[in-house]
């Protein structure tokens, strides 16, 4: 049987020889055995490369439960954010405290003993197929050829051999046929212990630089078999891990030393302009704001200015212009790259999290979020000027959530809510606010289960208990009807924006609009699988055009 598959594989390879003659990057026909040799060699090289990389890894887990009507809903969640380090096994320097203290275990001995514990490094581990990938440890079976977007792939089943160690990968790999990089692997690690578990995962790599395919997305899913019995409970969950912040220059800010930009060599401002006390105060506050924004961008938590900021800026401008507001200095918009739903202001910079942008159903809902933050700015809720001193940022990246706080107190939040309603009342969004209220209702509905999703890391809480932001909008919204297909109160996670894991740039997703077939497909705030369309990096395309062939 295997020899038959090998023959089919060779025939398929030989059929591509014509294409290879035209394209200098396509490798000459290789036997399946030679192909596997190249794959193993490339994968070993990948592990070495990954040891030099320290991306941020964000994992979000939703525990699920199926009710008697077979509706599946998240019942709890978990969130990890850390910087990956593969130098000494898989390690994560976490941005938040991971372990409950001793007192928690003492006060909740039963729940403490009976609860599953998610281990961040176990999710981060899924970026690597096998840290010591050896051909002799596995059996490889050719399956077929398949396109994953632009990348033409050889699909191979990989199973550990008899003498493979515990924890060897078992599943399927997709290998792009230009350079034999693994671009996707789907399966689990074989073996187990009584107390610890490996999960099933689907790990994707993107071609982020010339000849460099790096882990970007991982989807994890486990479906328990006896979900309704408290005694026979089993793992039933979905999770996503996203990686970004690979560009080491961005992390070190080295380019700023080597790139000196001179915008205008002649100072053409009128002479003798002194800064008065008010102006000095504004400049001081702007400095604090800039320091904070720069630092968040440097450590990979804030996206560099880009297309998505411009969309936010347009909505903010709509609010400013229609309300005839004069705001000095200008209001800016930026996107926090993390998932938890939050928005906040740093001085005159409005920050919205990627997760929040992802789940907002329409522009009016976005306007509502931005109007609330604009309310803080209009009301003069200022930035903490201690951030004007650079030494305030001399701390480890992982301490950012502990050291930086942009949350507002209850009175300021209430005032911003009132101001936002005023701003929206005279804006182009005034007749479309029903969906914004519905979004808040959906948030309140799912809030108790998804505590980690709605817990802000830097800003203020959007919903807490029965209260949400903008209570007036909440109260005036129509009732939430889960079975109505045309009522979309919130989108699944990952619906709006696309993240470039190398540069941290965000772009809007270019997905086709899809008609929902059943209420199950609404999936508000839920984790869904990834199915990205792979493409070769621009640098790789240039190499193809120049006809260069890599060894």
């Amino acid at each position: 049987m295997r020899s038959f598959r090998t023959i089919v594989f060779l025939l398929l390879l030989s059929s591509t020889v014509g294409v290879a003659a035209e394209n200098p990057k396509v490798s000459p026909a290789l036997s399946f055995d030679q192909t596997v040799d190249r794959v193993v060699e490339r994968e070993r090289g990948f592990v070495v490369t990954m040891k030099r990389m320290h991306p941020l890894a964000e994992t979000y887990i939703q525990n699920l439960r199926e009710d008697n009507d077979h509706n599946v809903e998240p019942v709890s969640d978990q969130y990890f954010l850390g910087r990956l380090d593969l130098n000494h096994g898989v390690r994560d320097s976490m941005f938040q405290r991971q372990h409950e203290g001793f007192l928690h275990h003492v006060s909740n001995p039963i729940s403490s003993a009976l609860a599953y514990k998610f281990l961040p490094q176990g999710f981060a581990q899924m970026v690597v197929l096998d840290p010591d990938f050896q051909k002799t440890n596995y059996h490889f079976t050719f399956v077929r050829r398949e396109f994953l977007g632009e990348a033409r792939c050889i699909v191979i089943d990989v199973q550990p051999g008899k003498k493979a160690r515990e924890g060897s990968f078992t599943g399927r790999i997709w290998v792009e046929d230009r350079d034999f990089n693994i671009v996707r692997f789907n399966g689990t690690y074989a073996g187990h212990s009584n107390f610890t578990h490996y999960l099933h995962f689907d790990s994707w790599r993107f071609n982020l630089q010339a000849d460099l395919w790096l882990p970007s997305y991982i989807y994890v899913e486990e479906s328990g078999t006896k979900r309704n019995s408290p005694l026979f409970h089993d793992l039933y969950l979905k999770a996503q891990t996203r990686l970004w912040g690979y560009d080491p220059e961005q992390l070190n800010h080295n380019e700023e030393f080597t790139q000196i930009k001179v915008d205008n060599s002649v100072d053409d401002r009128p002479v003798a302009k002194d800064n008065g006390p008010v102006e000095a105060q504004r400049m001081w506050e702007r400095m604090a704001e800039d320091n904070a924004v720069d630092h968040l961008q440097k450590i990979g938590l804030l996206a560099p200015s880009g297309d998505v900021d411009k969309i936010l800026q347009t909505v903010v401008d709509n609010l400013i212009i229609t309300n005839k507001l004069q705001i000095e200095p200008d209001v800016r918009c930026r996107v926090l790259l993390t998932l938890p739903l939050e928005s906040f202001t740093i001085g005159h910079t409005i920050v919205v999290s990627r997760g929040l942008l992802d789940v907002l159903p329409d522009e009016a809902s976005l306007a509502t979020i931005l109007a609330h933050e604009l309310g803080h700015i209009v009301l003069g809720h200022h930035v903490d000027t201690k951030l004007a001193f650079d030494d305030r940022f001399f701390f480890a990246d992982a301490d950012a959530f502990q050291r930086l706080h942009f949350e507002r107190d209850g009175a300021e939040e209430k005032a911003a809510d009132s101001k936002a309603l005023e701003l929206l009342a005279t804006s182009p969004y005034k007749d479309k606010l029903g969906n914004a209220g519905l979004f808040l209702k959906a948030l309140q509905n799912r809030g108790p289960a998804l505590t980690n999703l709605i817990s802000p890391r830097l800003g203020s809480r959007m919903a807490s208990g029965n209260a949400t932001r903008m209570a007036a909008l909440f109260n005036s919204a129509p009732a939430l009807e889960k079975q109505r297909l045309d009522q979309i109160a919130a989108l699944p996670i990952g619906s709006r924006v696309k993240l470039d894991p190398w540069s941290n740039q965000l772009t809007m997703m270019n997905a086709n609009p899809v008609a929902l077939l059943s209420p199950r497909e609404k999936m508000p705030f839920e984790v869904t699988p990834f199915f990205p369309s792979l493409s070769y990096s621009q640098a790789d395309r240039k190499l193809v055009a120049q006809g260069s062939v890599r060894p």
Binding site: L114, A124, V128, G161, Y189, G191, T196, H197, K226
Partner: protein, 213 residues
């Protein structure tokens, strides 16, 4: 001599507890990190046989049932609650029946786990009720019962036969108390062997078909 043997036994036990984690760690060093840990708990029922010394008369054998439950608190540590009822229709040459009822709890340590097999050692403490008899003369014997704090140390092996079912064999040294022929309370050094069926209350992850290669 007896004390020396006991000291050597204790030293061996503690040496094993200290060295085993290092050996186990070495075995795991290259394995990928798991993504989830815990919880794991099981109940077991089994057959036990106990050999009990009767003061100045030899050893009596008891047979009975063992019921236990355990929970794993980490990959290496767990806790157990063990109850045991052992019976003999006649204690040595006396005409008296005897039984031992014990209830213990304590920590479990798993020094080695490989595929479907794991080894454990444990140290338990609790109460032991001994109902027995001691021959005084050929025609007379002393009969009674005694409840005293008691302890046990031992270990065993578990072999999983399916997702939820395992076989466990373990041996324990039990320290109980009973009267001697003079009516004084004396400690007893018992040996107990147990064979149990273990039923896990959470399905153990399926063994991958890949491992059948």
């Amino acid at each position: 001599m007896r004390n020396t043997m006991r000291t050597i036994g204790k030293l061996c036990f503690f040496g094993f507890v200290m060295v085993a984690p290092a050996l186990a760690q070495n075995q795991m060093v290259n394995a990928p990190s798991p993504a989830v840990s815990g919880p794991a708990y099981d109940v077991s029922v089994g057959y036990s046989r106990l050999s009990m010394p009767i003061a100045s008369a030899g050893r009596a054998n008891f047979n009975g049932l063992d019921f236990a439950g355990s929970i794993d608190l980490s990959p290496r540590w767990g806790a157990t609650l063990d109850s045991n009822y052992l019976y003999t229709p006649a204690v040595l040459d006396t005409r008296h029946q005897g039984y031992v009822l014990s209830l213990y709890t304590g920590p479990l340590f798993y020094p080695i786990e490989h595929r479907n097999t794991r080894v454990f050692v444990r140290a338990l403490a609790g109460m032991g009720l001994v109902d027995g008899a001691v021959p005084i003369t050929e025609a007379q014997d002393f009969h009674g019962w005694l409840v005293r704090p008691s302890y046990a140390v031992g270990g065993g092996v578990e072999q999983f036969v399916s997702g939820q079912l395992a076989l466990r064999i373990n041996g324990d040294y039990l320290r109980t108390s009973f009267y001697d022929a003079a009516g004084a309370v004396q400690p007893q050094n018992n040996l107990r062997l147990t064979l149990s069926f273990v039923f896990r209350l959470k399905e153990r992850p399926h063994r991958s078909s890949a491992q059948l290669w």
